[in-house]
Symmetry: C2
Subunit: 346 residues, 2 copies
């Protein structure tokens, strides 16, 4: 029975407040590359793994996400952290998978992972880079696609605002909105990102929220005719400012609240009187509820990539040891686009 | 041309903050009871008029409601205040109305009103008291009906929470929910109201929010299985506490935010992370968008009244001079059920 040393990333203790490099450690374990006789296990060599902000909510002592959803159960100190990614099957006791198959789904922040086949599919790379299947064609992409088209129900010509617009989901929401013929404004946290949104991704306008002192008037300036759709990745003051600039029957898809993740006391406090009189619909969602759209989402998105309507924005670093800094970078805004860690060559 | 002295209620100046009796005055005007030749006007003797909290938002210097909706345009000091109610036609230049007709719709906080027929209908009292057509069969009723059935999309057996549950809308939401077979808990601001909710209106449970120190744990106690639907009439902390006790796919209909009306700095600050993970839908609405349901609403509600499924909860005072105190009472919670002022015998 062949064994290897598997390196994986773990938290040392529950992480409350701002995470730091020293909250994480690289652990090693002896890992069998063979399947136990009679078992259904799939042994996977991890190739690319997704680095997502929501993981912070799993690392906290307590969080709404842990109590209410099987998408974000608590992470135990010292244990392997499951995460979305792409790998290659090393051995399989499961008849649906065989050695050499590419797979996509829940693997781990480690060099190898073991799966019972839950939330795991065989992957046809369709001639595209494997990393695309982690981000633009993975859960980030589905989140953008389902959140925009199903939750926001957009119409051509509508005015769309996206926060964290150079992030993994935001950049795609903006590009989907442009592909539909909407007016799209994004906000991000640096001049470089703002330029990227306008010049590379085709946003109509973009601004650096760190340079703005009054978000209400900022949004009024960028949306003289009001906002029809706000795709919210950040929460807090930005949500308040969006509500006060929404049009009648405006829709807000609540996808993430990254500005609240590290400070539970920081909250959005939208004007509910506006919510009533403008008949605003504020709706939280998770991409996992829209798995039925996966085939449609993939075929539309591959088509947009091939015709150049969607520019793929990835930020890839290398090696298991880079995972903690890649993760911390999500909260300081150092990533541009989908943050992915490459763990091994194919 | 017969003229009378028409008394009406006006504000002396814009009302910001807590309204008081001295903000209002009884004014008089000479009022013609005949229609000018060639005019389309309808002259109405007002009989019963509705007293609603939302009017406070029209009296402020500035309010979200005034900017965004033709349902709540600003009220000018010294001028007649339009309001929902029932009256009798004294004279009409409009071929759809004739002398002696009962009418329901926008009349005024005055003894007489003049209408161009907008938001005014002929009324068939159907053998029921005229006051019923101001409240339970009027806009308060439609708000409860459309808000509960259309916005909340309830299912039998779901757990429903209603705030301001002895108010004009809340009491009906609770009764509609019981008629559907839901578990219903209401909150109100006195022991007497709590008893009424449980003993007369058939709520499963009710509590006095003024006696509670931690609304999160109060709701946890009354909803051990969580809340599926929250019908929000008050906003602020109650909304936050409801969000933290909602079930997956919970729905919140935002109908009013009375606890925020008098203090613009008081705001709900719900946990948006819960909104995401529980896929909560928070939706503001106005009954005016559901006029198409009016016939269905009236027939269902009349039926419920006749079979005793709906108990009509009215709080009627008399005379034009009682309007200011009736209105102020909405904010101190002195009304029980729909607040109506009777202006004249038929």
């Amino acid at each position: 029975m062949e064994e290897v040393t598997n390196k994986y990333i773990a938290i040392k203790a529950k992480v409350d407040g701002i995470p730091k490099e020293s909250d994480f450690e690289v652990k090693t374990e002896q890992f069998s590359l063979s399947v136990k006789p009679g078992s259904n296990d799939i042994i996977i060599k991890n190739l690319y793994v997704s680095i997502d902000p929501y993981q912070i909510n799993r690392m906290k002592t307590a969080s709404a996400s842990q109590k209410t959803s099987n998408y974000a159960v608590a992470i135990a100190p010292g244990e392997v952290i499951d995460a979305y990614g792409v790998g290659k099957v090393v051995a399989s006791g499961n008849p649906q998978f065989e050695k050499g198959d590419y797979v996509v789904g829940m693997i781990s922040w480690g060099e190898y992972s073991i799966s019972q086949g839950l939330i795991l599919s065989k992957l046809d790379p369709m001639g595209l880079p494997l990393s695309y299947h982690v981000g633009v064609l993975g859960f980030s992409g589905l989140t953008a696609y389902a959140g925009f088209f199903e939750v926001c129900k957009p119409k051509k010509g509508e005015k769309v605002f996206v926060s964290a617009a150079s992030g993994s989901v935001g950049n795609l929401v903006g590009q989907y909105a442009k592909s539909l013929g909407c007016y799209v404004v994004g906000c991000a946290g640096s001049t470089k990102k703002v330029e990227l949104l306008k010049e590379t991704l085709g946003f109509d306008e973009a601004f650096n929220y760190k340079e703005e002192t009054d978000l209400h008037s900022t949004l009024e300036r960028y949306f003289p005719e009001g906002i029809d759709i706000y795709f919210d990745n950040v929460g807090a003051e930005m949500l308040d400012a969006a509500v006060s600039n929404m049009n009648l029957y405006g829709r807000i898809a609540v996808c993430g609240v990254i500005s609240e993740y590290l400070d539970a006391g920081k909250r959005a406090a939208p004007d509910m009187l506006s919510v009533i009189y403008k008949r605003i619909n504020i709706r939280g969602f998770l991409a996992g509820d829209y798995m039925n759209l996966f085939p449609e989402f993939v075929s539309t998105t591959v088509d947009h990539i091939q015709t150049g309507k969607i520019h793929v924005l990835e930020d890839v670093s290398s090696g298991i040891e880079s995972i903690p800094s890649a993760f911390l970078g999500l909260f300081s805004g150092s990533n541009v686009g989908k943050k992915i860690v490459k763990l091994s060559d194919e």
